[in-house]
């Protein structure tokens, strides 16, 4: 104000000689222009309103601009309808909703609460009801009451709402995690009755299995994991079109590759994206220093130690994740390539206490195209028992190696793709790729022995222990899962040879 006033004074200095007549505003004094005075009033009001308007516009502009900025920074996706999960199975037992505010009311003790709230008055029925509910909530936050005979497990688990604990041991598995998650999402057994439990152990330096697992799990529980994988596959396809990284794919059976591709393309089943009841990730290092490459894993000398360590890892997972309300436990390996989504229901319907399918793997065409993979599912033979009598207490018999001729009947070799996949055979030992077992067995103490139990360890020891305690162990010879193909050092050499030959032929063709 002062500035204007000063300026005006300076500009008017020339005119004024300091003398001004007092101006009067009476209606009687003559006015030069009647409009002048009204003009001034109008102009004043106009200035006032315009200034207010400008102020308003400025402020609202700031607010609106801020809101727009927030909106675009938040997300640029169209609005989804978020589905709320209604099924009871998501919110039972451990996950019953507990209100911390209600529980905090009883911090000084229930007696104290009753006395301070109600004094010596008798509670009205309404109050009593509310009090009973809150009292029960308080108790259920620390006391758990289970009747174990209710969780026995039947052949029709899905309809009876039986809880399944799905256990997956992982080690250096970052590359197969997308494959594993796709299979998990593909399970048709109601996701609200499946608890996932992962054990990440002994990963090498720089391996990011744990971080990848946790971030995939977050997407899984949001229901958006399939979109993430769709993006990843697009990116991978774009990269693969530039040059084949996996040379051996050229030599595989094209029908098999086609069936793999069809298996993983949409449309998927209705509840593909539905979250699971819970995801538990356990992290434990056992000090294992055997490599995880194919040749490292399969050398006969390390088998015994390796199997015992794997048994230990599996036991850790069951011991920590098994809850009283689980009826079934399903063990699954991460590197299965083809598997029906209804596997849990199929294995359950056999009526066995332990059920395993057959596991094969594809091979390059120059190596016969396919091969039994899991030789740990077998029926006991007389020769094997004799062999065991002559072995040391700590020796572990492993299948598929010339050092231990057991002459056992292996489930893998009985396979016939034309026969009924529902046929069940009684077994003594089981392999660990895909085992469905009643939780009752684990609760009775049957474990994956981490020591040599009757000259076996891990899953075969598990099968033997289950049989010993009177449970029925069954295998389905014609129901096949396909394991991924990892070329061994020999295979890679053969493939390299073939590549060189084919390049020579090409060169000759070009020259001629």
């Amino acid at each position: 104000m002062a500035i204007f006033w000063g300026l005006k004074k300076k500009l008017k200095k020339a005119d004024d000689d300091g003398y001004k007549l007092p101006m009067s505003h009476s209606k009687l004094s003559p006015k030069s222009k009647r409009l002048n005075w009204q003009n001034r009033k109008i102009v004043s009001w106009m200035i006032l309103t315009v200034m207010v308007l400008i102020l308003y516009v400025v402020l609202s502009g700031v607010a609106r601009g801020g809101k727009e900025v927030m909106k675009t920074v938040g997300n640029s996706m169209p609005n989804y309808n978020v589905n709320f999960l209604e099924e009871d199975a998501y919110y039972d037992y451990d996950f019953v909703d507990i209100d911390p505010g209600v529980i905090a009311k009883f911090d000084e003790g229930v007696q104290h609460y009753l006395i301070t709230q109600f004094g010596s008055d008798v509670l009205t029925p309404n109050d009593n009801e509310l009090f009973e509910r809150e009292y029960n909530m308080l108790l259920s936050s620390t006391v758990e009451n289970y009747d174990l005979s209710r969780f026995k497990g039947s052949s029709n688990g899905a309809a009876n709402g039986e809880h399944v604990l799905l256990c997956v041991p992982l080690r250096d598995a970052e590359k197969v995690l997308p494959l594993m998650f796709k299979h998990l999402m593909n399970l048709t057994y109601p996701h609200e009755s499946i608890d996932l439990a992962f054990l990440v152990s002994d990963c090498s330096e720089g391996d990011r299995t744990l971080e990848a697992l946790i971030s995939y799990s977050r997407y899984l529980q949001n229901g958006t994991l399939s979109q993430v994988f769709a993006d990843m596959d697009k990116a991978a396809a774009a990269q693969a079109s530039k040059g084949t990284e996996k040379l051996y794919l050229k030599y595989m059976n094209p029908d098999y590759l086609k069936s793999v591709q069809e298996a993983f393309s949409p449309p998927f089943h209705e509840n593909y994206d539905k979250p699971f009841r819970s995801v538990q990730v356990f992290q434990k290092d056992f000090g294992q220093n055997i490599g995880q490459g194919f040749s490292d894993r399969h050398a006969v000398k390390v088998q015994g130690t390796r199997r015992k360590l794997m048994g230990r890892a599996r036991n850790w997972l069951t011991a920590n994740a098994l809850k009283p309300y689980h009826s079934w436990v399903y063990w699954r390996d991460a590197d299965v390539e083809l598997c029906p989504g209804s596997i849990i229901e199929d294995l359950m319907s056999t009526g066995c206490d332990v059920a395993v399918p057959n596991v094969w793997r594809p091979l390059p065409q120059f190596l016969s195209g396919e091969q039994p993979y899991d030789l740990n599912s077998w029926m006991e033979s007389y020769e094997a028992l004799e062999l065991a009598k002559n072995l040391d207490e700590d020796d572990v018999i492993v299948e598929g190696y010339a050092e231990y001729p057991t002459y056992r009947v292996h489930l893998a070799y009985i396979r016939n793709p034309d026969l009924d996949p529902k046929e069940v055979l009684d077994l003594d030992g089981v392999g660990g790729v895909s085992i469905l077992a009643k939780a009752e067995l684990f609760r009775r103490g049957i474990q994956f022995p981490a020591f040599t139990f009757e000259n076996h360890a891990e899953t075969e020891g598990f099968g033997k222990m289950a049989k010993k305690m009177g449970y029925r162990v069954g295998g389905l010879p014609h129901y096949t899962l396909w394991h991924i193909y990892e070329p061994s050092d020999d295979d890679l050499r053969d493939i390299a040879e073939k590549e060189r030959e084919s390049r020579k032929v090409e060169k000759n063709d070009k020259a001629s």
Binding site: S44, S215, T224, M232, V279
Partner: protein, 396 residues
């Protein structure tokens, strides 16, 4: 303060204002009605509407491929508002995802200092008031104590269950610092064993059946209640009615994988009219060559049990090694343990040591467990001079 009228008068008459004002008016009209917005600039000169957070940028550490923030397709119902308490996450983890780093779980000699959780497991056939009183007297901080009980499905089991539930209700609705961390009560699935009288229980022929049933109960209890936060497991029988109040601190301070205390029994001696004590649990022993010989000659399904004239094993029994003047923390090596008062590191159970219900090296239940722990390369110890007392059973 000058009046508003005068203020406007001055404004009207000042030339600067009357020149700038229309220009400003035109500019504002332009920005408001004509321009399309986003006039705000961020750090790098771009509009902050296009700002990307770290996890949204391509090819960063956070996520190698996809970077679009995806709206969740499914969501769990939440009854209690997130505003109230960050402790809701302690009870039910967000999105039901939980991550446990078991490498950080340890069992050390300073259990209470390191806030290690101890799980006290009791297969309960009868509820004894003295047992419960004794349990309440333990000085280990209750916020790290978890209790587990398993009760057979028999009529006596029903009685025990109702008494136990009443006692549990009383303690868990008490002040917050008096409550145990968690209490699990299970009803047994497998067949129980219902002959209760002391004389009958100890007949040799039924031993195998009885101990197999008990082993089954123990396993069911163990594998249902063991959790990722448990460091120690204390097996305390329901008939142990008197222990030192510092029981857990004393036993964990030895830092042994499997440790068993000496179980005695106080009884009223009619001859001397005084309360005397005598050894009770003969399942804590060291192996002897005689026993191993006996085992070799037995059938595969037979078991060796202690305390019977028919099976003279000549094993060294810890029960007879009590020395009233010796140090209470003296240790001795054992090969078999009883389940009266045995402290086991949770890792031993997690590795797979359980109570075999079938003859395992001709041993069963707790003694079979000790053998299994040895097969897993753990060492068993006992405390001969540390006494806990079994209830006196009146034979009515």
């Amino acid at each position: 303060m000058i009046s508003l009228h005068l203020l406007f008068y001055r404004l009207r008459n000042s030339p600067w204002f009357m020149v700038l004002f229309p220009i400003a008016l035109i500019l504002f009209v332009y920005f408001e009605f004509v321009s399309s917005g986003n006039p705000y600039l961020g750090n790098d000169g771009n509009s902050i509407a296009n700002h990307k957070w770290a996890h949204e940028k391509e090819d960063t550490f956070y996520f190698p491929f996809s970077n679009k923030y995806k709206m969740p397709k499914y969501s769990y119902k939440k009854k209690s508002s997130w505003l109230f308490n960050d402790r809701v996450q302690d009870i039910i983890p967000e999105n039901h995802i939980a991550h446990y780093d078991l490498n950080k779980l340890q069992s050390t000699a300073d259990a209470a200092l390191n806030k290690e959780h101890v799980l006290i497991l009791t297969p309960m056939q009868n509820f004894h008031e003295e047992y419960w009183e004794n349990l309440l007297q333990l000085t280990y901080p209750r916020e790290f104590l978890e209790l587990g009980f398993i009760i057979p499905r028999t009529p006596s089991g029903n009685v025990a269950l109702s008494k136990l539930e009443a006692a549990v209700k009383k303690v868990q609705t008490d002040k917050k610092n008096q409550r145990f961390f968690r209490i699990t009560i299970l009803r047994q699935n497998s067949e129980g064993f219902d002959k209760l009288m002391e004389k009958d229980r100890h007949a040799l022929q039924v031993q195998k059946e009885r101990r197999s049933a008990m082993a089954s109960a123990r396993n069911e209890l163990l594998f249902s209640s063991l959790g990722p936060q448990t460091s120690w497991v204390l097996w305390l029988d329901a008939d142990i009615v008197e222990t030192p109040p510092n029981l857990i601190q004393d036993m964990t301070s030895h830092n042994k994988a499997v440790l068993s205390a000496n179980v005695y029994q106080k009884y009223y001696d009619d001859k001397t009219n005084k309360v005397q004590s005598r050894p009770y649990d003969f399942n804590n022993w060291q192996e002897s060559s005689t026993a191993l010989e006996l085992a070799k000659q037995m059938g595969e399904d037979d078991i060796l049990v202690e305390g019977y004239g028919e099976l003279a094993t000549y094993r060294v029994l810890m029960a007879h090694f009590y020395d009233a003047s010796g140090a209470a923390n003296a240790e001795m090596n054992l090969d078999g343990v009883g389940g009266g008062c045995t402290l086991v590191k949770a890792d031993v159970h997690r590795d797979g040591a359980m109570f075999p219900t079938f003859p395992f090296y001709h041993l069963i239940e707790t003694e079979g467990f000790a053998k299994m722990a040895q097969r897993l390369n753990y060492e068993i110890f006992g405390l001969p001079n540390y006494l806990v007392y079994h209830i006196e059973e009146t034979n009515t």
